[in-house]
Symmetry: C2
Amino acid sequence: MTTSKKSSPPPAQAADIEEGTAFAPKFDSDGLLPVVVTSAATGEVLMLAYMNEQALTRTLETGQAQFWSRSRKRLWRKGEKSGNTMRVVELRTDCDQDALWLSVEMGGAEACCHTGRRSCFYRVLPIGKGTAGVTLTFAEAERLFDPKTVYGHARAAKGTLKTQG
Amino acid sequence: MTTSKKSSPPPAQAADIEEGTAFAPKFDSDGLLPVVVTSAATGEVLMLAYMNEQALTRTLETGQAQFWSRSRKRLWRKGEKSGNTMRVVELRTDCDQDALWLSVEMGGAEACCHTGRRSCFYRVLPIGKGTAGVTLTFAEAERLFDPKTVYGHARAAKGTLKTQG
């Protein structure tokens, strides 16, 4: 390559991708990488979110978690509205560099989920009973904030609100 | 609908999906759901994998983790070749039912990654330094099995092999 035109690097070998120290994120066809977000304090999985290149760059630069909102189709600094920000404690890539693991310290009410709960994974599936008419069990129903107050939209009040009087 | 023809159920309301007890997994356009796999023993993230409907059904029925291999384009019972099976301890769905969290007990060498390591997330990204020429650091280099012996293909020997004499 003798031009200075911006071009993609040549496809890396599997051994380089898996065993090298060069970061070569493999975004999917929508330009996104799935990101597993866990609590640095407890280790629990808080959510699965997605980063595009810009969200990843900003997260790496600022140390504050930013994502790509697939529903709103825009960059999203976690906690920008709710105050439930996420400070990056550690960010890892996986073997084939098509997924990230983000360990965070939460701010605000320490509620990751837009329903007001700490984790987005608050319901459990039964094992050993097949899949016909699977009934979910709530493992975590308590809300740490009221989504109606924070986002201005109501959610069916299945869970109890911690601060509810 | 008066016919007995198999048809999709009507789109569920957000409140039902988020606050209900009916399991209504939202597979992506490729018919897949991302699955965060963690160790029940330590809580660490082992890998991010994908399930199609069949893999999910078999996992729910048998209590042994099965996935859809995107690279091999086939159903994949975890550990079928390596012996590093995964017994389901708990399976959760997230708020909008488009991601799963699977907590497992590993069998065999307790190495989830095909590179022989315990977790697929063995390299760390630096924070606060931007993204130009990002250099990864190995957080976990030790291999619990030799991928060449198990799978018959070599990997660059960056990590040390635990059982290497």
